[in-house]
């Protein structure tokens, strides 16, 4: 049960997320690498100034101010990678999910005999690998 991800983030995770988003925002403004690197070093210095804060109330306040500043200064046209969500080429080429192959007609399956011979075995091995790493699913989760 410890493998189910909870929605609560630690303070360190939130700060790191803010830092990464702020860096991506800087990349949107400064696209030549050496200029961006200079601004990124300045930003890192701002984060490092309050990095060793032990008082959690103050730390949360800094985090909140940082989020507010990022929101006010976000670039109106952020820089996305083309195939990532938000980019231009995201989901242009659709890969069908694996279970579609189970619905093929037997005549179609006969065109690839080697693959379909080993398919059931492969499925069993995959389920075994999953259960080894993440544990068996709870019986209560299978039905509403």
């Amino acid at each position: 049960m410890a493998q189910i991800p909870l929605g609560v983030k630690t303070h360190a995770q939130k700060v790191c997320s803010l830092y990464k988003r702020a860096l991506r925002n800087l990349e949107a403004y400064y696209d030549r690498r050496h200029v961006y690197r200079y601004q990124a070093v300045l930003l890192r210095e701002r984060f490092d100034k309050h990095a060793k804060e032990t008082n959690m109330i103050k730390a949360n306040e800094f985090l909140k101010e940082g989020e507010e500043e990022l929101f006010l200064k976000q670039h109106p046209i952020p820089k996305y990678f083309a195939t990532s969500p938000g980019g231009v080429a995201h989901e242009r080429v659709v890969t069908p999910p694996d279970w579609v192959l189970d619905y093929w007609h037997p005549l179609e399956k006969a065109q690839y005999p080697e693959y379909f011979k080993k398919r059931e075995q492969r499925k069993k091995e995959f389920v075994a690998m999953w259960e080894k790493e993440y544990g068996k699913p709870d019986e209560k989760d299978k039905h509403h």
């Binding site: 990349e27 949107a28 403004y29 400064y30 696209d31 030549r32 690498r33 200029v35 006010l72 200064k73 670039h75 109106p76 046209i77 820089k79 996305y80 990678f81 083309a82 195939t83 231009v88 080429a89 995201h90 989901e91 242009r92 659709v94």
Partner: protein, 572 residues
């Protein structure tokens, strides 16, 4: 399929060229009429008008589409459904040709609707979320124009036929013509993306690049301008030219500014197209339809070339369209950067390239005739802005340091794409002079003071210096965008008009329809029709089931009841 279509369209272009030269030299114009049905006084007639304007436009459309189809053989070669794409493009060309040759409104409607629907199919060709949204925006904006043309058809029936070309000379100052002109202008504005309807053109860049090169630079968006050129008699005597002038000049200015803040390569070129469309509409509304037509044709050439170069660059960058990822490409893709530079310079109106002939003529006509000061200022300011964003684009993409993430992608030697670009390059260099010799049998007599004549050059030099300086500063030092954040957001998101025309118009109705849906469709109408009747029937059948459960008392009681009824009827 690609090569067949290319050869067919190229041959069609040659035929059109020869007929165009013959027709314009001899001043001919051919009107075909085919009577489909004739019954007493009603007759349905299909007609085709071939004059020099239709033949010239058809020649340009078929040239650009043949070159684009040849280009997409290489551009879309990883596409599984290339046949579908080519067939859609061919259907598009067919609708455009139908629109060009038709002298009556019904076949214009067929071509117009075909253009709108097929451009929707082409925009949603890559089936991701952005394409679907863009397609919706394109289709619905074009639909408004379709509705307007349908209403024009209804109103023109007052005159007895749909052949509008017969009615201009003796129907001026008629109230019906007033309404018809109003609707035609709105239809042309939706198709050519003028100010209230301008949000679809940058969004439609979700389409594949060959589609943008053919559709969104030279054919679809110029259909509105072409319609107004055909209907230009309506503009001269009515007051509409002021409204159209105002909106088109604002479009020109707004898109020129937005292109300066935009970072997506295809969106910059789309906004540049929008700016030139505003220019065409404004010179049309000032009363010079032939100059507007001239600019339409030269613009088609270099804009299609520009889109194709952008396509090569996008292919190189693995589908990235953001210019912030690019830099210093001119040394590595020399032939493509040649085409890009020539088409950009032609767009700016550099002397003796093709754009110069049309743009300079337009600006000289504006200076020569005494119009409003605002008109004058906005025209020259927009010309300067054109040079500004062009130089900014060249600075970001071509000049400066190399900014790519990897080197091995630099592949310029795809000769299929290059050959198609060279055809358009040749035309983009020469079409200006070639068209000006054909269309204008005598030149316009323009007398201007010396500085006013050179004003274009001053504005271009100023624009190029500013473009160079601002890009330099923007790339290499503190980005001034942060200092004027509110103003920059306003200017780069197209004055928030896309938000107004999408959220602003539809939110209140969608909210209201949600309330209606929850209360009526899923509420009261379920009680009175669906679930309610089901519940009533179920309860009644539960009730009646008691009588069918073989209860002996029921049988005795019903026996007594029948006995009483029979007794009453027969013995009393």
């Amino acid at each position: 399929m690609c090569f067949n279509s290319f050869f067919f369209l190229f041959f069609f272009m040659l035929i059109n060229y020869f007929f165009f030269v013959y027709f314009i030299m001899n001043g001919l114009s051919v009107f075909f009429e085919w009577e489909i049905i004739s019954f007493n006084s009603m007759s349905i007639v299909m007609s085709i008008l071939l004059d020099w304007m239709s033949l010239l436009f058809m020649m340009f459309v078929s040239l650009i589409s043949s070159v684009v189809i040849f280009y997409s053989k290489s551009y879309m070669n990883s596409e599984l459904n290339l046949n579908r794409f080519i067939i859609l493009v061919l259907m598009f060309v067919f609708s455009m040709v139908l629109l060009i040759i038709s002298p009556n409104l019904i076949s214009i409607l067929l071509g117009w609707d075909g253009l709108g629907l097929i451009s929707y199919c082409l925009v949603i060709y890559y089936q991701n979320l952005k394409s679907y949204n863009a397609g919706m925006l394109t289709a619905l904006s074009n639909r408004i124009g379709d509705v307007m043309i349908l209403m024009v058809i209804c109103w023109v029936m007052n005159y007895g036929s749909w052949n509008y070309i017969f009615y201009f000379d003796f129907m001026k100052n008629d109230y019906v013509m007033f309404i018809i002109s109003f609707m035609i202008i709105i239809a042309a504005m939706t198709k050519s993306a003028q100010i209230p309807f301008s949000s679809w053109l940058p969004a439609a860049m979700a389409a594949p690049t060959p589609v943008s090169a053919l559709v969104h630079s030279s054919t679809l968006v110029t259909a509105g301008v072409y319609l107004l050129i055909r209907f230009n008699y309506l503009l001269i005597d009515m007051f509409f030219f002021k409204v159209l002038l105002f909106l088109s000049i604002l479009t020109m200015f707004m898109s020129g500014i937005s292109a300066n803040y935009e970072f997506d390569l295809k969106k910059i070129i789309a906004l540049s197209t929008l700016s030139q469309l505003g220019l065409m509409m404004s010179i049309l509304s000032l009363g010079f339809p032939d100059i507007a037509f001239f600019h339409l044709l030269t613009h088609a050439m270099f804009k299609a070339l520009l889109f194709m170069c952008a396509g090569v660059i996008i292919h190189m960058m693995n589908d990235i369209q953001d210019i912030r990822y690019m830099g210093g490409l001119s040394l590595y893709i020399p032939l493509t950067s040649l085409c890009l530079n020539i088409s950009n310079l032609s767009l700016c109106g550099i002397p003796f390239l093709s754009g110069f002939y049309s743009k300079d003529l337009i600006l000289e006509m504006v200076s020569f005739n005494s119009f409003n000061l605002m008109v004058f200022i906005l025209f020259y300011l927009s010309t300067g802005l054109t040079v500004f964003y062009t130089f900014r684009l060249i600075m970001y993409v071509m000049i400066n340091d190399f900014n790519l993430m990897m080197i091995y992608n630099l592949y310029d030697e795809d000769y299929i794409m290059l050959n198609s670009m060279f055809v358009l390059l040749f035309m983009s260099l020469l079409s200006g002079s070639f068209l000006s010799w054909f269309i204008f049998s005598y030149p316009y007599m323009i007398y201007l003071p010396f500085n006013l004549k050179l004003m274009v050059i001053y504005v271009s030099i100023l624009g190029s210096i500013l473009g160079f300086m601002v890009s330099n500063m923007g790339i290499y030092s503190l980005n001034k965008l942060l200092l004027s954040y509110n103003l920059s957001s306003f200017l780069c998101l197209m004055w928030f008009m896309p938000n107004l025309s999408t959220y602003g118009l539809s939110y209140i109705y969608l909210n209201f329809s949600q309330i209606l849906f929850k209360n009526i469709d899923m509420g009261w109408s379920e009680i009175y029709s669906g679930k309610g009747i089901f519940n009533i029937l179920k309860n009644y059948s539960v009730f009646y089931n008691i009588y069918q459960m073989n209860n002996f008392k029921i049988y005795l009681f019903s026996f007594i009841l029948w006995f009483m009824i029979l007794f009453i009827f027969f013995f009393i």
